[in-house]
Symmetry: C2
Amino acid sequence: MSLITVGTMAFDAIETPFGKTDKIVGGSAVYVAYAASNFVKPVQQISIIGYDFPKEEMDDLRSRGVHLDGVELVPDKKSFFWSGRYHADMNSRDTLVTDLNVLADFDPKVPDSYQGAEFLMLGNLHPLTQLNVIQELKQRPKLIAMDTMNFWMESAMKDLKIVLRYVDMLIINDAEARQLTGLFSLVKAAKAILEMGPKYLIIKKGEHGALLFHNENVFYAPALPLEDVFDPTGAGDTFAGGFMGYIAKSGDISFENMKRGIIVGSAMASFCVEKFGASRLKEVTKAEIDNRIRQFKELVSFEIELV
Amino acid sequence: MSLITVGTMAFDAIETPFGKTDKIVGGSAVYVAYAASNFVKPVQQISIIGYDFPKEEMDDLRSRGVHLDGVELVPDKKSFFWSGRYHADMNSRDTLVTDLNVLADFDPKVPDSYQGAEFLMLGNLHPLTQLNVIQELKQRPKLIAMDTMNFWMESAMKDLKIVLRYVDMLIINDAEARQLTGLFSLVKAAKAILEMGPKYLIIKKGEHGALLFHNENVFYAPALPLEDVFDPTGAGDTFAGGFMGYIAKSGDISFENMKRGIIVGSAMASFCVEKFGASRLKEVTKAEIDNRIRQFKELVSFEIELV
């Protein structure tokens, strides 16, 4: 099975209460690829980079089975750059700089070599850009998942509502679910979103875990209680990458298997936040992943007879 | 097995986005008793009431196996009264009125008929009042759990630190755990609290569930995702009552059984918030409780092979 992932490959400069970085490699498609490539090969990347994107990073991705035919290099422009500062609670942040650079002209094309992919993860981009990718595919994937954000709800809600009709799963956070529907109750918001098109909805709640909704079914995955969250940047994309990587590996899109996928995604996200950027994801081993999944299992396991 | 519960029996007037009540019966010991009496008899109440506390409420409690020998009636004063207004998010509220009335003179005595109780739940009161109850007991219970709040951390931290050395378990919310320790990370806060005396710590996170800490062990219980939280008043006390009632019924204070107790407490709290005050708790049936525990089990159950 193969997984196409569409999103940014970029530079971030991050400040947290624990320290700050200069420009480091980031971007949604980078996090998705590092997480997913632990489970499935190939991961087929669609993105756009400038002349400044490091060749070593591309080599590193390639060595993990990530295909880069769909990554457009613009020789006379810089890569997308984002800079942000996290508040003490690590749940909120201020954007300091957003330099679109190459991203302003991003018009993703699906290379022939990617056609026939069974899984598609659409990172947070303009809804019409996401839609274009879907329409470029000659064969509909088994599962199309997408991310989005408040910015598109404010500036392109009509387009967002259109692309939602074409995807199987939406992966957003709790604030985004509330904003998309105008409903405070996440249960009510979930019902409303499942009427908009997606058959599956994942609501990410950061340190409070994630919820999976499908028809009348709900699954709740905790986040691992951590001593420190060092840098939350990319945790949501890493979650999505771990989830889609696991699902693509198995090819099984049953609700039961999606539960497993969410645990795997949560495990990968718990590594991501341990160091700045994607650095922890690059070094994590299969044994560490297995061990962390075991921790998740222990964290929520209980046996009870009825009272 | 028997459970002593110490706390307020009072009147509340509550405003939520869904409506408002006149004075209705509330108080921590009332919620604990209604929740715990589903599992264990007798529940032995220690509290103080004024002339205005309804006789029918006392009869209702008695009919559920709640002993009231330890409830002092002050014939010329009113019962404790609290009034509050919840914000739209239901996680925060403003206190509008606090009339201590009889509570100003509360000096709880343990009746002879309560001596020998195996379980003790100390509701949120002045730490020295909580300590007095412990010291009145001729035989140390198998498990002493206590609640507290930010008010005592600000006004009686020294006394609070003393009583913490005498209890087995502290049950508080996330904001209180952070305030008690000055640590933002709940994992670090938990470690610090387990150094203060209690061997077990439950951190309640409202709609985000609850965490149980003991030595190096952590258990995470979700809250049930609900369409509406109608009135959160008493949910924390109901959780504690369900937990202690279940533990007292079984007499088993192993970590494994405490996990079950937390699920039961969470189930009882999920009923509490469905209606104003304790009204939903008064009508809930054993079949409904069993059904809800089943829902919790389904909510977090997953089977996974390692990756």
